[in-house]
């Protein structure tokens, strides 16, 4: 077991701790990373929809967007690969390491125990999200799950590969790269954390893009951001509570998202 130096009891948990590299670059890197993710979400969906329109598969742009939405849990891999590429570029530029973004050393059993704590602490978010879904869509399956329709091979990819890629990219981008840079710029960790949670939730409004009444379904986009907000707030708070250790959060998210993808693939949702 690797020992970690405990921080002083008087030291706020939000200060950089031993084992965590100090931020080398400014908030520009954070903007590039978030901008890349949003641009990739929109670009991939619109690009694939455009290809289908060109191929004459469906008549209108709206129809083709809705049809493409069925694949969102698969093409998410492209967004996460793009995110990893930007993280890699930033690390090379700043002479940092990917492991350094994950926080202080964490043993396997600490990751496992921490992940159980993260899953337990996520229960209120699950309840809130379920109530919100019930209020907006009643007994119906929420649209982001209802639209998913892919062949078996793509389902396997969506269960085995995509959730893993998502954990390597998404929380590392927001909590490992964006948050420390905002903290350094703003000097107020609570404000930086609030901005990260809001921006992170807003990103979810970009996928899947669904249409309603000839335009983008804004009600669904708002629901999507609102339903993930408590999860993201919980995980960001836990990031601090765990002494900036990302691995337990990544492990818990992987279990959560992987189980959701598996349930969808097996037809257990809806």
């Amino acid at each position: 077991m690797r020992a970690t130096t405990p921080p002083s009891a008087e030291q706020p948990a939000v200060r950089p701790q031993p084992g965590v590299p100090t931020v080398a670059t400014g908030v520009g890197a954070a903007v590039v990373l978030v901008g890349t993710r949003v641009a990739l979400w929109l670009g991939v969906q619109l690009g694939l929809a455009g290809l289908l329109v060109l191929a004459g598969v469906t008549a209108t742009g709206g129809q083709v967007l809705d049809r493409m939405a069925g694949w969102w849990m698969v093409y998410a891999a492209l967004v996460d690969l793009g995110t990893l590429a930007v993280i890699g570029w930033l690390l090379r530029r700043d002479h940092g390491s990917y492991r350094g973004l994950l926080g202080p050393p964490t043993t396997a059993w600490q990751v496992a125990l921490g992940a159980v704590g993260v899953l337990a602490a996520s229960v209120p978010a699950v309840v809130f999200s379920a109530e919100l879904t019930g209020a907006v869509y009643g007994q119906a399956t929420p649209p982001m799950f209802a639209v998913v329709e892919v062949p078996p091979l793509a389902s396997v990819l969506g269960v085995l590969v995509v959730p893993l890629l998502a954990e390597l990219a998404e929380p590392v981008a927001y909590l490992g790269v964006v948050l420390p840079r905002l903290e350094e710029r703003l000097g107020r960790p609570w404000l930086a954390a609030t901005i990260v949670v809001v921006v992170w939730a807003a990103e979810h409004a970009c996928y899947p893009l669904l249409t309603s009444g000839g335009g983008v379904d804004l009600e669904f986009a708002a629901y999507r951001a609102g339903s993930v907000l408590p999860f993201l707030a919980t995980w960001t708070a836990l990031y601090y509570a765990l002494g900036r250790r990302l691995l337990p959060i990544m492990a818990a998210r992987w279990v959560f998202n992987g189980a959701t993808a598996a349930a969808l693939a097996l037809g257990l949702v809806g």
Partner: protein, 151 residues
């Protein structure tokens, strides 16, 4: 050695608990003694205040540490979750959401409850880490006993 963040989180959780009890008072459903003559989960939940006051005094005196607070916060999160979110919940979310006009107030009260339980759970995780770190620190600083001492 007292942890400032632990104090802050404890006060935050106590304030959120008070707010949730206030929500019970406003709705006047799922309440018990001393508001009615029935002793129920509401009555039991009021025990948290003497526990917090006693715990703060004991923590200040060095009698209890973060391990105690991890149990209090974790136990609180478990209790409130079971009462409100569990499969056999005595006060499910509908009892909050459907008892306010306009409905947005119900969502505010429900959001408060969700945040309250999350604060308790996150606080418990933080206190568990603090407890573990203190244990590790004590193990490192404890002088060796007997082993290797030349006779």
């Amino acid at each position: 050695m007292h942890d400032r963040i632990l104090y802050r989180l404890t006060w935050l959780a106590a304030a959120m608990s008070l707010g949730h009890h206030l929500d019970h008072l406003i709705r006047h459903n799922a309440v018990g003694w001393p508001l009615t003559d029935q002793v129920n989960a509401f009555t039991l939940s009021l025990l948290v205040y003497p526990i917090i006051i006693t715990g703060l005094l004991a923590y200040r005196a060095g009698r209890v540490g973060p391990g105690f607070w991890a149990l209090v916060s974790g136990g609180g999160a478990g209790f409130v979750s079971a009462v409100h979110f569990g499969p056999a919940a005595v006060e499910p979310p509908e009892l909050i959401l459907d008892h306010y006009q306009p409905p947005v107030l119900g969502w505010l009260a429900f959001g408060w409850l969700v945040t309250f339980v999350t604060v308790l759970a996150v606080t418990s995780v933080y206190e568990t880490r603090l407890w573990w770190q203190q244990r590790q620190a004590q193990r490192v600083t404890r002088p060796p006993t007997g082993v290797g001492i030349p006779r």
